[in-house]
């Protein structure tokens, strides 16, 4: 075991650079392949777009070198790969005539998101500062989640009221609530963990929490249900509640929370089924997808079934970028972009992308495992759960494992707000992993008794070793009265 080498953690930025080059080759290569297949010549536009992507990724890399040298080296290449593939596929779907200029918008949003993430990295410096924003984050989350139902601001698209429009731009504020709720849950549980952990009645193998400790869980459930009822957004409701249950489970390592969470989800599902038409419709589509009547009806199972056909059409190696017909599926470049990849890159391509998500998730968790403070651990785990729940809900919905809902696959799908939120999450996790892997630096304390100051002589040592280091001891005595503020090696 190379233990001696591990004592000094390496920044590993060079590995990141190599992986980043491969990542950019994949993203830009996919883009060029689309062009080769659907246009006769690769014109200047392709090189400009590729250049923009490469410049952004390399700038991000340099920012990491300067600001978070010990950050995880694998996160950025994975994210750049997924983002690049997403842009290429959106670009490919622009050729079908159903969509217009979405790829350019996506590229613009990628630039905005990456710049925002870089700014967050550079300005925040230490994720622990977010802990002070625990309750502000809760307030911000509620505002963000309920902004779309403010009259005049909200917009109803495809049955879900999750958009706001400011001038010509539309934005999905709920996406940012993923981050703020993650901060709130992590901060809240880092503060109250002991209380929740110690109190409770033991029944069999489980320790049931007290009723008053259930309060926050109930609040989270209410928020989730509120989101569901008010915005008609099944996926986000599931994600927020799953986030809270996962974070509280990690904080307390009590299996009872998972059980209680499961009960709440079941109750929520029953309630939703009873009272929300939208949810009932999704359930019906899920259960009777291949029913002819269901297939033909408006808002029926056409999208889901065509998606399944598309995946089947892709086979093992796919039809090739630009050779399939993913545009048959509604919303092929956002909700259903996984289908488009499954059809054109085949099982090999799509499974590679899912493995990339898996590695990304494990890197998020690794950042949480490595960091030393509770808040950072819980935040990293929460953000990891957000990522994995999104992927599960999207891919599960498309492959008919669970009912479909309105989440989009992170980094791939067209949509600026989701992209922005996910890139900000990347910045946060990179900061946490930097804190986890960097060698310890001095905290905010004064070196009043450090090297050369009073009280550093050990009586034991004097007795056993005699006057072995007379020079050093003299030096210590001479400096004795001076607290020596410039001591230590705090260059």
């Amino acid at each position: 075991m190379p233990a001696q080498h591990e004592t000094h953690p390496r920044p590993r930025r060079n590995i990141e650079l190599v992986l980043l080059v491969i990542a950019l080759t994949i993203g830009i290569g996919a883009q060029v392949l689309v062009g080769l297949n659907l246009e006769d010549a690769i014109d200047q536009r392709y090189w400009i777009e590729g250049g923009v992507q490469a410049a952004l990724a390399l700038t991000f890399h340099i920012v990491l070198r300067l600001r978070a040298k010990y950050a995880d080296p694998f996160i950025l290449p994975i994210v750049v790969t997924l983002n690049g593939l997403g842009i290429a596929m959106i670009h490919r779907l622009d050729f079908t005539g159903q969509y217009e200029g979405v790829a350019d918008r996506q590229l613009m949003w990628t630039a905005v998101s990456m710049v925002a993430a870089m700014a967050l990295l550079a300005l925040l410096k230490d994720h622990r500062r977010l802990r002070q924003l625990t309750y502000i984050s809760l307030a911000a989350s509620v505002v963000l989640l309920f902004l779309p139902i403010v009259p005049g601001l909200g917009q109803d698209i495809a049955g879900a009221q999750v958009w706001i429009s400011i001038g010509p731009m539309s934005f999905q504020p709920g996406e940012l609530a993923k981050i703020t709720l993650g901060i709130f849950f992590a901060g809240f549980l880092a503060n109250n963990r002991d209380l929740i952990l110690l109190a409770g009645k033991k029944i069999g193998p489980m320790t049931l929490p007290r009723v008053q400790d259930l309060g926050p869980l109930f609040l989270a459930w209410l928020i989730a249900m509120g989101v569901l009822v008010v915005q008609n957004d099944l996926g986000n409701a599931l994600m927020f509640f799953g986030l809270f249950v996962a974070v509280i489970y990690v904080a307390t390592s009590r299996i009872s929370w998972i059980v209680i969470g499961g009960v709440f989800v079941a109750a929520g599902a029953v309630l939703a089924y009873q009272f929300v038409w939208h949810a009932r419709n999704r359930f019906a589509i899920w259960l009777n997808a291949f029913d002819q009547q269901m297939y033909d009806q408006d808002l029926g199972s056409h999208q889901l079934v065509q998606g399944l056909f598309g995946l089947a059409h892709g086979g093992l190696t796919g039809t090739g970028l630009g050779s399939g017909s993913p545009q048959i599926v509604a919303l092929a470049n956002s909700d259903m972009i996984i289908v488009a990849f499954g059809e054109e890159l085949g099982f090999l391509g799509l499974s590679a992308m899912l493995v990339l998500y898996l590695i990304l998730f494990s890197r998020y968790m690794r950042a949480g495992l490595g960091t030393r403070d509770h808040f950072g651990k819980l935040l990293a785990v929460g953000l990891a759960v957000v990522l994995v729940l999104q992927v599960f809900v999207v891919v599960g919905g498309i492959t008919r494992v669970i009912p479909m809902s309105g989440l989009v696959s992170p980094f791939l799908a067209a949509g600026g707000s989701a992209l922005l939120a996910n890139w900000l999450i990347v910045a946060l996790v990179l900061l946490i992993s930097h804190a986890a892997r960097r060698p310890i630096v001095v905290g905010p304390m004064l070196n009043t008794t450090g090297e050369g100051a009073s009280g550093t002589e050990d009586p034991l040592r004097g007795r056993e070793t005699g006057q072995q280091h007379p020079v050093q001891n003299d030096a210590v005595r001479q400096q004795h009265p001076v607290p020596a503020p410039g001591d230590g090696e705090r260059a």
């Binding site: 953690p9 992986l19 694998f74 310890i440 905290g443 056993e464």
Partner: protein
């Protein structure tokens, strides 16, 4: 471009995707095995000091002689208490132990004070100093009254947490 060339490029893209994945996994190495590693370490902690340590640093007897210019211990391992198995890399700067969030090592221990103790390097040694904690800091069997040297293998007890230096 010919259809064949495009097909070849298409397969090249898929291949490159998997190359990326494999190189990430290869570069990760043992990074994901953190829990397993720290588990084996904690089992060792009751007995000998460290398997990877140099032979010169056998415990107790040699410790306090201070004859050799040994390298300063580079790791701090929590061997008992709520955070058991945690390892902290030590640099050349002092570290603060306690429950307060601004501490370098945040102890999750109800019997520890906010800023409980401080560990600072001098020469080839680490010195441990109590910062006026409520329950005191113990080095081996003695309660600290002033800053003392902490040798690799000494049990540093803070509340219910026991820490050890390792080379």
């Amino acid at each position: 471009m010919s259809e064949l060339a495009i097909t070849v490029l298409q397969f090249g893209l898929l291949l490159l995707l998997w190359i990326l994945i494999l190189s990430i996994i290869a570069a990760q190495g043992r990074d994901m095995m953190v829990s397993k590693r720290s588990r084996t370490r904690t089992q060792h902690s009751s007995g000998s000091t460290d398997t990877a340590a140099a032979p010169s640093s056998t415990p107790a007897a040699v410790h306090h002689s201070g004859q050799t210019q040994r390298p300063r211990p580079k790791r701090l391992v929590i061997s008992e208490g709520p955070l058991v198995g945690t390892e902290i890399e030590l640099g050349s700067t002092p570290i603060m132990l306690g429950r307060a969030q601004e501490c370098t090592v945040v102890l999750d221990d109800d019997y520890a004070s906010g800023k409980h103790a401080r560990l600072f390097p001098q020469g080839s040694r680490w010195f441990l100093e109590d910062l006026g904690s409520t329950n005191g800091t113990w080095l081996g069997d003695e309660q600290l009254t002033r800053a003392s040297t902490a040798e690799p293998g000494d049990r540093i007890r803070i509340g219910k947490t026991v820490l050890e230096l390792r080379t």
